[in-house]
């Protein structure tokens, strides 16, 4: 209260033109300065989102964007589509497998990078590379590495005596799915590792020492002492990682385009195929919004867990 009174009196004394004077109310100043950002987001995120919602219940196409209300026709048609159902399952497999691998490998990598050794900075920079190059570029490099004829990975595997003949990575169902997950893990592992590194190094050393003096094993120290402390960071990293993996289409689109025979589509890539390539706005929007409720609930749960202490 006292602070408010002080700001007021200071505001009164302040000079400047009428704009300066007008803006001297903290409230007005705040709203005026934040307005452009809010306006931009409302116009180019909020409004399109509303249009997307309208698309889901209309028969809009690229040729006829002015459409009629068709109720749940799109939803029924989408649910009836075998490729979509396959894409839905793939999306979950893709996201959950990538996430699990990233968490396990990321934890190992984080502990490696936390050790003090010569060349640590260089090692760290090298490990970061996949995350620092554009994902579209990375996906193309992998597509070339997994090329049916000139695959360098197959060459290595065959010459190491592990295989007699490598698979056609992107041309067969399971290898293709495996490749997509692999590239996604390759891309996101550095991010997971760096977040974990930062989190772990923020844990006070005394607490860990105290726990180990009390006879806690490595696993117990990790699960009962460190994880609870770094949980907020883990949560937010997980949130980003989940949302972006869940909705990503770049890797799939560039590497397999959903092939072979539409077996590797994820929802985002199939929505792109339907909405942009085939021009069926209603169906495409229904697909791309299909998982929005899941994501929203997930985001709310995670953000609740974060509590106020992390985002002050």
């Amino acid at each position: 209260m006292a602070e408010v009174a002080r700001t007021r009196s200071v505001g009164f004394r302040a000079t400047g033109g009428w704009i300066g004077h007008f803006l001297d109310s903290e409230k007005v100043f705040g709203y005026v300065l934040v307005a452009p950002a809010v306006a931009y987001i409302v116009l180019l995120v909020g409004y399109p989102f509303a249009i997307a919602l309208w698309f889901t219940v209309s028969n809009a196409t690229v040729a006829h964007p002015i459409a009629n209300f068709t109720g749940l026709t799109n939803l029924v048609a989408v649910l009836d589509d075998g490729i979509f159902r396959r894409a839905l399952i793939n999306t979950f497999i893709f996201t959950l497998t990538s996430q699990a691998l990233q968490m396990v490998l990321g934890t190992i990598l984080a502990f490696l990078l936390l050790r003090k050794f010569r060349g640590r900075r260089i090692a760290r920079a090298l490990i970061m590379i996949p995350f620092t190059i554009p994902i579209a570029i990375g996906a193309m490099a992998w597509t070339w590495m997994l090329n049916p004829t000139y695959s360098v990975i197959n060459w290595v595997l065959v010459h190491a005596g592990l295989l007699t003949q490598g698979p056609n990575w992107l041309g067969e169902e399971y290898p293709a799915m495996f490749s997509i997950i692999l590239v996604n893990v390759w891309r996101n592992l550095p991010f997971t590792a760096i977040v974990l590194t930062a989190g772990i190094s923020a844990v006070p050393q005394e607490i860990i020492e105290a726990a180990s003096l009390d006879g806690a094993s490595w696993l117990v120290r990790w699960r009962k002492v460190m994880v609870p402390i770094i949980a907020p960071i883990l949560y937010i990293a997980l949130l980003f990682s989940l949302v972006f993996t869940f909705t990503d289409m770049t890797v799939v689109w560039l590497m397999t385009r959903g092939n072979p025979v539409d077996a590797t589509h994820v929802i985002a890539s199939y929505a792109f195929q339907t909405g942009v390539v085939a021009g069926s706005l209603g169906r495409g929007a229904t697909m791309s919004l299909f998982l929005f409720p899941v994501m929203l609930v997930g985001a709310i749960v995670i953000l609740r867990n974060l509590k106020a202490r992390t985002l002050d």
């Binding site: 409230k27 995120v45 399109p48 989102f49 970061m128 590495m145 960071i233 980003f240 770049t250 706005l281």
Partner: protein
């Protein structure tokens, strides 16, 4: 006594052995991770500079140069494709994105970090959460909006759309910088009769130049590497930005120009990789909304 010493010696040998084994294991696992991370880049590099006869000869060991390295593929990229146009487009659009982002972010981040007014907390949170809205949710309605603006198949449509993710990201990052400028300095200025706007322009902004430059770099590189919106809104080669151009234009029908494609990939990756490596911690701080201190 002698027994004790012997025991100690044995103990320390065992200890040293265990330590050595640990070291070996450590370097082995670390090398695996490094190879996994870097091999694709090495492969890009090889592909870029190999002669075509070398690249497509299955008898050769693909991991090494069998014939002398060549610049043919790079030359092809510059002379026979629209590569220089894409670079130019990237520069223009990237610059526009940077300008829009800075003009909108600086004031917003400033008040969200330093003022308290009803709803400021939830506004900040709301802007942060916008970053979570993925392109694949919005590309269909935005494509219609782009039609409405008359920007079909026009690179400037991207300058309009990219701020939707650069603004949330940069605002959040910038808030961190503004919070670090001590409150006392602005309060003192205000007592001396400086207006709120004046305090911002004359005191806080000059002290936050490094922060503002950082968000310029991020806005530019985020725009430069975007793929989904670019693929949706732009189809003519002469309107493409660099990333999209490289990954789409060097495939003609079923023929992939792998050498030139990887050359372009390398040229795009190097600057971005350097920037992100230098600013990695800041970048992660931006993504995690300050959850990492």
């Amino acid at each position: 006594m002698a027994v004790l010493t012997q025991a100690r010696v044995q103990h320390s040998t065992a200890f040293r052995l265990r330590k050595l084994r640990g070291q070996v294991l450590f370097w082995f696992v670390l090398s695996l991770f490094i190879i996994f991370a870097c091999f694709p880049v090495y492969w890009m590099f090889l592909t870029t500079f190999k002669q075509v006869n070398d690249l497509y000869n299955l008898q050769n060991n693909p991991l090494l140069f069998q014939l002398a390295p060549t610049l043919d593929q790079v030359q092809y990229l510059f002379e026979r494709t629209n590569f220089s146009t894409w670079v130019l487009n990237t520069g223009e659009v990237g610059l526009a994105v940077v300008v829009i982002t800075v003009v909108i972010c600086v004031p917003a981040a400033y008040v969200l970090a330093r003022s308290q007014f009803p709803g400021s907390g939830s506004l900040g949170m709301g802007i942060f959460l916008t970053y979570l809205v993925p392109p694949t949710l919005l590309f269909l309605p935005l494509s219609q909006l782009v039609v409405g603006f008359g920007l079909v198949n026009d690179k400037w449509s991207l300058a309009l759309v990219y701020p939707t993710f650069t603004i949330p990201f940069c605002t959040w990052l910038l808030m961190g910088f503004f919070k670090n400028v001590p409150r006392e300095i602005t309060e003192a200025a205000r007592v001396d009769g400086c207006s709120r706007l004046g305090a911002m322009f004359r005191i806080v902004l000059p002290l936050s130049v490094p922060g503002i430059l950082t968000i310029c770099i991020f806005a530019f590189t985020l725009a430069m590497q975007e793929y989904v919106y670019a693929l949706t809104f732009v189809s003519s080669s002469d309107q493409k930005m660099i990333t999209l151009g490289v990954v789409t234009d060097l495939i003609r029908g079923d023929v992939f120009f792998w050498g030139s494609l990887m050359a372009g990939a390398l040229i795009v990756s190097i600057p971005v990789a350097i920037v992100y490596n230098l600013f990695m911690d800041t970048f992660v701080r931006g993504i995690t909304g300050g959850a990492l201190k």
